[in-house]
Symmetry: C2
Subunit: 132 residues, 2 copies
DNA sequence: ACCTCATTTGAATGATTGCTCAAGTGTTCT
DNA sequence: AGAACACTTGAGCAATCATTCAAATGAGGT
């Protein structure tokens, strides 16, 4: 199968002002460009998944905090003016993506960043949103 | 106001095994660490907003495509096996964030990337999800 | 054993999001 | 003017998500 969204479309070549060379092409628009991309697209689902993790203000702040120092859940909640439960839920997600590490000291659990790369990603995005 | 989530929490110092030095501290957990962060957190809402735009497989792929060549809506839809309407909705969002530029040629609208920085962000995230 | 505290977990809620369908706009051609 | 085409837009829907509350777990102190 060629996918449920496929259909009959026409052809366009930019710049030339040409009329559609083919009126009814099955499952492709511009044969040249379209066929060139066949199987060439990298799997960006995982990339989008990583961005989803970072696409939340609270989580971005948690990462930023933990990049600078080790903190317990309670402290993070206080600093971010949130609830312990809420922060714990977010940490659970960050843990699942191996972005944070933790160790228990008595009753308290201390979290810290386990992936400097994501901090770099955040700071780069921060620079991006600043100058424009 | 100090925020709706504030409450009375206790103090913890990692490593020392110390007992909470203060039992009831209003609106703060570890006074040392918490106060150090007062007003020090950068505004990461916009950063999270940018990541939200990238946190979708279809949009990530559109950006990847447009980084390599100029394409019309119809072609993008064909390559990504989606509908023209769906792609147009995504392009609308990308346009609102000034990530893509476009120009009309007759009936056809050609889109291309207007922000190489986001491509760098994507390729960096791609490298990240690969080796682990 | 019991109580307290720090954190985790699950269920419930409201908000946001991606996609689809149908209708609308703008452009070209006859 | 009218038809055909490329694209845009808005409403509607199901799925996902962030947050909250209440209950559960785990560890230390008495």
């Amino acid at each position: 199968m060629t996918g449920p969204k496929s259909g009959i479309r026409t052809t366009h070549v930019p710049g030339t002002g040409k009329t559609p060379s083919v009126v009814c092409e099955v499952f492709s628009s511009d044969p040249q460009k379209v066929s060139r991309w066949q199987g060439q697209l990298p799997a960006l689902a995982a990339v989008a998944g990583l961005f989803k993790v970072l696409a939340d203000e609270t989580r971005a702040k948690i990462i930023y905090l933990l990049a600078h120092e080790e903190l317990c859940v309670c402290d993070i909640a206080t600093i971010l003016d949130s609830t312990v439960s809420n922060i714990s839920h977010h940490l659970r997600l960050l843990r699942a993506h191996h972005l944070v590490k933790y160790h228990r000291e008595g009753k308290v659990v201390f979290y810290s960043l386990d992936d400097e790369h994501v901090l770099h990603l955040i700071s780069e995005a921060f620079d991006h949103v600043k100058h424009r």
